[in-house]
């Protein structure tokens, strides 16, 4: 049996940000977008269209799933997203991959 995580790597920057963002809990699109914007300082230039396309793909690949809005949400029609177990594993693997790259960069003295 092949590794279920490997085919998903490397993640696109947007996909990684989405998984990262949802690893702290279920969120809806606007919250995800705002969080990514804040964390990256808007460098990704991400907009809702691309965000939802990326999330739809992640849902297809089984890394995300949609969930019902929690009780506290005022607008119950809002679609919430959550990370699947596979998604968490893939995000972890991607983080480790990036970490290894960062280490390599540090050893190569790229970071001063």
């Amino acid at each position: 049996m092949t590794d279920p995580i490997d085919p998903h790597l490397p993640l696109t920057p947007v996909a990684f940000e989405i998984l990262l963002c949802l690893s702290t809990g279920e969120k809806h699109g606007y919250a995800i977008l705002r969080e990514i914007e804040e964390r990256t300082g808007g460098r990704l230039g991400l907009h809702a269209g691309s965000l939802y396309r990326a999330m739809a793909r992640l849902v297809d690949e089984g890394l995300l799933r949609t969930v019902e809005a929690p009780e506290r949400e005022s607008d119950r029609r809002r679609r919430y997203y959550a990370v699947t177990a596979l998604g968490r594993e893939v995000a972890r693997a991607e983080a480790l991959r990036l970490h290894a790259q960062l280490e390599a960069a540090r050893i190569a003295d790229l970071l001063g």
Binding site: G29, Y30, G45, H47, A48, G49, S50, Y52, R53
Partner: protein, 902 residues
Amino acid sequence: MPARWAVALLRWILLLSPRSFRERDGAEILAVEEERIRARLAAGDRGGAVRVATGAALDLLKCASSEWWSRFPRWGGGGMDGWIRDLRYGTRALLRAPGFTIVAVVTIALGIGANTAIFSVVEAVLLRPLPYATPERLVTVLTEMRARGVTDFPLSPPTFQDVADGVPALEAWAGISTFEQPLAGEDGPPTQVATGFVTRNFLRTLGVRPALGRDFEDADVVPGDPNLTPGDPGFLQNSAILSHGLWQQRFGGDPEIVGRIIDLGGTPTEVVGVLPAGFRLLMPAELQLLSDLDLMVGSRLDFVGAPRNNVFLRGVGRLTPGATMEQLRDQLARVMGDMRDEFPIVRTADMHFVATPLHADLTASVRPMILALMGAVAFVLLIACANVANLFMVRSASREREIAVRSALGGDRVRIFRQVLMEGVLLGAAGGVLGIALAGLGVQLLVRLDPTNMPRLTDVALDGRVLLFTVGATGLACLLFGLVPAIQASRPDLVNALKDRGRTGARRSQRRVRDLVVVGEVALSLVLLLGAGLMIRSFAVLNDVDPGFDPVGLTTVRVSPPFAAYPTTEERVALTGQLQRRLEELPGVTSVAGAFPMPLDGNMVSGRWGTADAEVDPELFQQADMHFVLPGYFETLGTELIAGRTFTAVDQADSTSVAIVDRTLAEQAFPGQSAIGQRLLTRVTTTEPVWVEIVGVVEPRHHISLTAAPNPTMYFTDRYVGGNLSLTWAVRTAGVPISLDAIRAAVAELDPNAPVSDLLPMEAAVGSAMAPTRFALVLITVFGAMALTLAAVGLYGVLAYAVRLRAGEFGVRMAFGAERGSILRMVVGQGLALAGVGIVAGLGAATLLGGTMSSILVGVSPRDPITFVLVPVFFAGIAVLASAVPAIRATRVDPAVTLRRE
């Protein structure tokens, strides 16, 4: 409020994306973007809100295109990569079958190349707007005299003025007339310059501005003798605008040219401007205007006092914005109505104005030929497509097993369709590129084949519009020959194909499609061949036309003495006589005569004649061509004298009132009697008709063209019109033709200021009179030959394939004792049956289409029975040949081998 607008915009953009995407995420996306914009507005960050809104809009556009792209994998899977894979696969498949590929590419290239070349003519001649300002509003206005069968009649200055005053539908109205006159001076040898006499607003009417200096002004037009016509001795001109070419060649591009005085026709004339480099006078050939003008003059001409019978102006007008051709024609008819009340001649001749849009008028004479050629090449392309489609089907039929296996193994049907279609696209692209190269050669050939009557032929080029056409034609061709085989290939008959007998089990429906395609090819190419046959017959007719003179050994040359230096008739006649004698003394010359006009030189003088009856009833005057000639003219040209005598030195020395007429006129004027000694009324030099005596009758001759029946013609001596015509000299030589230098030297002895020009062997003039027919003949025959070859190859291909499939059957038949001859007859019979159906269909189509060709045919009916019998017989012969090769192959089947295989 702005947030709502932004969301509305985004909602619109969202409509561009696929529905599934919209329905799944559309509402969420809009909600999120709205919230982002509102958040920034609430924070007072208007700029940020705008940035988010524009960013979101662009993002949605990108999403829409990406979503559509991602739909493509459903057309066979693999997305963009899949298409590239199919492209590569297709390339490999084509390279594996080089024979098929080369035949297909060359076939397409021929079709595309021929279409591109002819379309480039259509584009330059028929479609491209004229190089004038808002050319679609320019019109020509002529008169015709319906009672006399006279068309394209020029205007007299008073008539011109009537139109200027009475037609508000024309915002501008200008006149032109062209003639040649000598240009003298120290800048070069005396030369004949093509001069456009124009009204001062002519260039402004066309919307052309001089590149240097100024346009004509009112001050350039001062009253002169109203009875004179441009080019007459004493006709004054005081300002000129030079063509760019004359300025460069004659005056070395002198930047100080404006303001210089030049010696034009013996008159000092001031250069006031220079025309732009690209300027050309594009006017319909029937107007008989010189097209390559060296200069224009604004002339002294008093329109008020000018006589109505001095007709020489060609009218060009510009429609007032909003005015229609109908309004123009109504207003012109009203002007003519007023003239009808005032002048009896308008009534008796039944005179009318004819207004035509300039571009339509310019192209009217060549439009039928160009459209016939365009139809011919469209047929060639259709036949080429049919051929390639057939090749494809034969090929994919032999690949049917491979495709069936792939289908059975779960190969996507759409995928197979796509692969076959991709091969078609590749072939089309290769054929298109090669076709453009062929078209480039073709265009050069077309220009060299110059049909002489085609305006703007030198502008023909492969430009953007033509290439766009080529891309379109290629795309259409790809669809035609790629789609049918692709559909067939993607619907393989799995059960039959996979059975062991699949190889021989060509499906009936597929075979029927192939047969139908071949029948269509045969029909189309037969139509083209019939066209070629009719053109060949036309050319033969034209070749047999007796021009009424002997062109062999005859050379014509123009000598134009500066008549301003010879003010009296006596001086001019003396000069002409000396010139004739001097030219006769040149070595090799057997006889010499001058005349105006000379046959086939493009000039024509019309006049009217009447018998005694016309004296009481002016309506009985009739139209004839008028020629002014020197003694010895008929002898030199070899025109046969039927009765009476030719002109003698006495006729030229004295102003005797004698004339010679051709047989046509003699029979019209004096049916059943001898014309010799009879008198005719004519009005050549006087305003009132005077009597002339007929001293001779000659054979009719072709003067303007070899195709039209000769007009009734009258001949006068040069002396009769005062000896003031610039004669063209006909020089008959035995052996070596005369050289321009020899004539120049002889003329210079008499008058060094007389320009000598237009040396032309008469045989060349006859040749160029045949050029339009030759042009159509060569092209239609080439296209017909292409079509015939393609159809023969198509027939051969289908039969060869059928024979291969039926090899087993033939083997069995022969094993049971069938004669080789019977098999041969069977296959050839099959080919002839296909060809026969196609021939019948082609004959039907040609009968229907016949009328489209009639205007380019000469002396042959578009349904000429000889052509309609010979061409199909010839075609049937070709069909037998094309079938014979596969038939012979069928008889070579070894029964033992096939039986073993069965």
